[in-house]
Each structure stands twice: as structure tokens, then as C-alpha cells.
């Protein structure tokens, strides 16, 4: 145990996800030895992020205004919504430059064992966005793991009766990999989702 504020800092850092007691101690001593201006800047950013950042009133993405950058952009295609679990998934899809529609951030995935059900996610908000008839397609881009697939299954069941085109991101072989190293589940999905090369 260290004295006073040093121990407080280690305890607070240790509460962060993925930071264990040893890492917390290492970061704390790095901060103690760092330039005071650098530490001030870090403290300022930490305070700012809590005061300025909020969630977009339309899609639930992180934003500094009432609406996020994507929802404010008039050039985005309003007829397509891509449903993702977290804000970090929006960033990952934006990096592809393939998608020009808008997003909807659910805030997680259905996980009964963690006590997370459909009512704990932003599904009602999604349904109210679809009620005006402007949206023609909903792309389900939840993670390709069990919770993500279950969430996609649930949403597809909810959305299909609304007459929308409901699509799911393809699963299969990673680009640049070798076929022989693919696991049987992924390779099976790649076969199930194979596409025709006919013109």
C-alpha cells in the first residue's frame, strides 16, 4: 500500500477495464514522472469528455451535439440504416468507405446470461425511426458471435413483417488468409454464403 493520493490513483486506474493492479501501478508511476503539462492535458480531456460528449438523439452514437456527424450529414442515404452494437463499430464501418447510409447503435447485444434482453437495448428507438416509411433497408451488422447472431435473429423477426429489406453482413474467410487454416464453422458459413460469379 502506498500513501494517500498515490494509492487513490492506483485504485482508480485499477477500476478501468483491462487494467490490473500491476498495470495500474505502472501507469500511476508513469504519471508521477511525466511532465506536469502532459498530466494537465490528460486531466482536462477526461473532464471534457464527460461534460461535452453525449449520445446522438437519433442513432445513439457518441456525439458532441444533439445529433452526431453522420446524422447531420445531408449527403448520407436516409433509405438505409446499419444497425451496430457499439459506437466503435460505426468507426470500423466508416473506415471501409463502403457504406453511405446512416447508423443505429443498439448499445450492446442480447445476452440472457448477463441479464440483457431486448428491452435493455435501443430497439424501440429503432422501430420509431422506421415508422415514417423513409427507410427501405436495414443492415444488421451486429458482431458475428453468439450474442450478435441472436440479436440479429431477434431483430429480423421484428422487422420482416414491416415489409423492409433486412440484410445481414456476410460471414466467411478473412481476406489474405489461407483456406486450410479456417475453422470449420467459418468455412461452413463461407460455403453457405457463397455468391455467383456469373455476369
Amino acid at each position: 500500500m502506498y500513501e494517500g493520493v498515490v494509492q487513490d490513483l492506483i485504485d482508480e486506474l485499477g477500476r478501468l477495464p483491462g487494467v490490473g493492479p500491476k498495470s495500474a501501478q505502472r501507469i500511476a508511476f508513469h504519471l508521477l514522472q511525466a511532465d506536469p503539462a502532459d498530466v494537465q492535458r490528460l486531466a482536462h480531456v477526461l473532464t471534457e469528455v464527460k461534460t461535452r460528449v453525449r449520445f446522438c438523439e437519433v442513432c445513439g452514437n457518441v456525439a458532441e451535439e444533439a445529433r452526431c456527424r453522420v446524422c447531420r450529414d445531408p449527403r448520407r442515404d436516409v433509405s438505409v440504416i446499419c444497425v451496430v452494437e457499439e459506437s466503435k463499430d460505426v468507426v470500423a464501418i466508416e473506415r471501409t468507405r463502403e457504406f453511405r447510409g446512416r447508423y443505429h447503435v443498439l448499445g450492446g447485444a442480447i445476452s440472457p446470461m448477463e441479464g440483457v434482453g431486448p428491452d435493455d437495448l435501443r430497439m424501440r428507438e429503432l422501430l420509431s425511426r422506421l415508422s415514417d416509411g423513409e427507410v427501405q433497408e436495414v443492415i444488421l451488422a451486429t458482431d458475428p458471435n453468439l450474442e450478435g447472431e441472436a440479436t440479429a435473429t431477434y431483430l429480423a423477426r421484428l422487422l420482416r413483417p414491416m415489409g423492409l429489406r433486412v440484410t445481414r453482413l456476410a460471414s466467411g474467410l478473412p481476406v489474405g488468409g489461407d483456406l486450410e487454416y479456417a475453422d470449420e464453422v467459418t468455412l461452413g458459413r463461407a460455403f453457405a454464403g457463397r455468391r455467383s460469379l456469373d455476369a
Binding site: P112, L146, T153, R157, V185, T186
Partner: protein
Amino acid sequence: MSYYRDEAVVLRAQKLGEADRIITLLTRHHGRVRAVAKGVRRTSSRFGARVEPFTVVDAQLHRGRNLDIVTQVEVLAPYGQVLVADYGLYTAGSAMLETAERFTEAEGEAATQQYLLLVGALRTLAAGGHDPALVLDAFLLRSLAVAGYAASFVDCARCGAAGPHRAFAVAHGGAVCPSCRPPGSAAPDPQTMQLLAALLSGDWGAADTSDPRCRREGSGLVAAYLQWHLERGIRSLRHVERV
């Protein structure tokens, strides 16, 4: 030996650090085991898809100081792919996994009967043919029986008087005769008691033809009985879709 190999059902997968997961396994010979599966959240992972919940695997693990490490995995039965395509099956299956996890809290202590029961229940659930809620309730009743909490649905659970009896007392272990009946006992429909007895004994002919109202009442009794013995409720049960 620092390495060991066993068949297992993946019960839970929790995120760890940048790209790892902590996998909770119910193994055939080593009971419940928690192990780190390194790098499985990366899309390039060679066995990420194999350590998803509901999957029955043949795994090789390396003993660690706190947590073991998953070194190799082969899929024996990928039940997750079937269950996840139907929300009702998924929620019922999740409740089974959580119950199996709770009944095997002592890590490393062999729980072969619970393992075999879970594999059988997942196989039945994935095969379809029965109401998922009935398969779940049958699993819960048998899981309780394996753990030493078998409920009685015919004879009096307290004095053994031959049944059937009308009253059901969770705290006393099931059906109770008029003289043993404590105040506040439930008085379920006799057909509900017959359904629960059928589920415990595996009489699917009787269970499949049961009345939906009795199924709902039976599910409520099973949930109450389970919660009494586990002290804390099963979180997944709240999300199970029932017809």
C-alpha cells in the same frame, strides 16, 4: 502433467483484455473449468468460432496458476448455430447453460452427470420436436435431481404418504399431503403435477400433449423450486420465450 484434454460444453465467453476471452467450460471429467482463449476475438483467430457458448468441444488445455489456457479445440457438436437461428431456442438454451454453471460452482470437481445431462438437453433442444420451454423445464428438474434436490410430484415429499396430492410446497420438496401441508402452499392443477412428473421421468408422450396453461403453471413452479435451492434466481429465465 501440465496439459490435459477433455470433452466440454462451452458455458460462457467473457471478454478479456484486447482480443482474448475467458471461456467457462463444463468438462466431462474435470468439472467446471475457466480458461483463457488467447486472441479469439480477432477475425484471424483459428479457433474463435469453436469456443462460442453451446458448442461441445474436444479441448486441450494447459494448467495455469489462476486460469488454464486453451491450446487446441476441435468441435464435436456446434449446437450454437442451430439455437441462435431461433430466438426461443436461444433463450431456453441460455437458461440451461446458466443453470449448469450454477450447479457446478466448485471448479475442477468432476460433474459428469451434469455434463451428460446438459449435452443431452442441448441435443434435444437443437433437434426440435418438443416445445423449447418443456425441454428447459425437464432439464431444470433433472439438474436439480442430480444435485440432490429431486422434487416429488406424486407422493408426499415430507412423510412419504402415497399421492397424488393437491398441494405443492417448494420448501418441503414438492407435493405435500393434507396433514403436512404448510400454510401458503400452492395448489396447482392436478394436470400440472402430472406434466412435471412426466418431465422428470422423461415421458415425452404425456408432456407433448399437455395443456399450454399447465405448461405455464408448471414453469412457474419449476422456477420457484430452482430459486429456492439456488438461493439466487437464474437471470436467463426472465428472458425465456414461452408460448
